[in-house]
Amino acid sequence: MNSVCVKAENLAKKFLVFREEKTTFRVLNSLIQGKPFRKEFWALKDVSFEIKRGDKLAIVGRNGSGKTTLLRILTGIYDKTSGDLLVEGNPKALLKLHIGLKADLPVLDNIYLFGAVHEVYRDVLKGKMEEILTVSGLGDLRYMPIKELSVGQLQRLLLSVFFEVKSDFLIFDEVFASVDQEFTQKCDSYFQNLFSSDKTVIMISHDVAFLKKFCKTAVWLDGGVVRMQGGIDEVLSEYGKSFSK
């Protein structure tokens, strides 16, 4: 029996959003009249689920359904508003690709920087440098400022660096969209290894085929609440039907 890796019970997250377009006059008016100019917005409500060690879980849902908020709470970026959450271990998350980079600095410096953000050390990266540059097709461009790279080149480079992350618990948030066909093969091989291992993986993606291929269970979030959870095929099938309604 696998031990529990993540356990969420009635998890909720509230944000305060503006009631109307913010102007100095409206803010002052609200302050004078004592009326709040923000209202509550519940991004997550009563979310309960459990992930066992070694599970490969997909989180699906329309845009704005609370998927990224949930991952931010799991990784400790956001505080939960209420509910209970237990996260065992130290999940390594790739919630967005282009973070922590210095646009003016060369590719090499940014590799070390991006690696450090994801806990991959300089000495590890030095040993893998040629492989990373070759895979990302940037062998001759290592001294070029990273701002000169195309979106695709940058995506390949950063994913190649992230593939060096060693962790038993990985989280991905829709970071594989729009990779080219050549690099998709590299990604597939990485995920084949990852999903056949005993590592815990949480994955957000709109690519249903990709999720079906690699994940075993799924949680469907809708408007901040768990609409359904269970086997990947079952959940994705119901999720798919929701679009035709």
Binding site: G76, Y112, L113
Partner: protein
């Protein structure tokens, strides 16, 4: 009262967690990489690069010396060094706070998509300014030695004062970084205050040259003043070191850091959600 107790308990538990996180190998590695990248990035595409840090105080020194020498310079020993120390001290605080205060606004994506130790971003931005400040102070030390004021005792006393001044600046940055997330008006207010600091800090005048009321306001209302007075007593040496002012400076540094960091810990997550 109960509320205060809750805050203290919260701060204590958060602080334990933060210290543990700060000391991890991966965090130290990230801090080193951020500082390294920050240094490389700071003078990127600049022809004069690092020399700009010297040029700014030199131009200000030149202007202030010739404009204020006849009015305020009489009776002040080593007046050029006196002004230079003032410019360097106020310059460091205003520049560092203006840059590092906006660190979360400028790195919004980073802090909202990575569970990194957020203080790293502040420390790495501040590190560049501390380095430039240190070099400027070394230059002040060299000028002081040329005047014949240099002493090892002063240098020993300088170190705690230097650390306290960095802690004081860091405390302000911590609060600013939170406030900037709530209202961009803070940027305008702080820019205005930074200009005001140039005049309400005894950079080109001495406290005895202003009215007793203004003297009290400048000494007790402006936390930079005790630091500057102590530093001048160490670098210029005409006046013996006032232990009261020296201790006052160390106290200001400690209090500003503790209060600033406490505010940061309590509000960091709320602020970042609004960044």
């Amino acid at each position: 009262m109960m509320h205060m107790k809750e805050i203290i308990v919260f701060l204590r538990s958060k602080l334990k967690f933060k210290i543990a996180k700060f000391l991890t190998k991966s965090n130290r590695n990230l801090l080193v990489e951020l500082i390294r990248a920050g240094f490389k990035d700071s003078d990127y595409h600049s022809v004069l690069g690092f020399f700009w840090s010297f040029l700014n105080p030199c131009v200000l020194l030149f202007v202030m010396f010739f404009v204020f020498k006849s009015r305020f310079g009489h009776g002040i020993e080593a007046y050029p060094l006196y002004i230079l120390l003032g410019i360097v001290f106020v310059g460091f605080m205003t520049t560092a706070t203006n840059y590092a205060g906006k660190v979360f606004l400028n790195n919004r994506d980073f802090v909202l998509n990575s569970p990194v130790f957020r203080e790293n971003l502040i420390i790495s931005t501040l590190a560049i300014h501390v380095y430039k400040f240190s070099v400027e102070l070394i230059c002040c030390g060299a000028v002081s030695a040329l005047y014949g004021f240099f002493s090892w005792k002063s240098m020993l006393l300088f170190l705690p004062l230097f650390i306290a001044y960095i802690a004081f600046t860091l405390g302000i940055i911590m609060v600013l970084s939170i406030l900037y997330c709530f209202a961009r008006d803070i940027e305008h207010i702080w820019t205005l205050l930074s200009r005001v600091f140039l005049f309400v800090t005894p950079i080109f005048y001495a406290l005895p040259q202003v009215s007793p009321f203004a003297r009290g306001m400048i000494y007790f209302g402006n936390p930079i003043t005790p630091f500057l007075i102590s530093m001048r007593q160490l670098f210029i040496g005409g006046e013996p070191l006032s232990w009261l002012v020296y201790t006052h400076s160390l106290l200001i540094g400690t209090v500003f850091f503790i209060v600033g960091y406490s505010i940061f810990i309590v509000f960091e997550n709320i602020a970042l959600e609004r960044a």
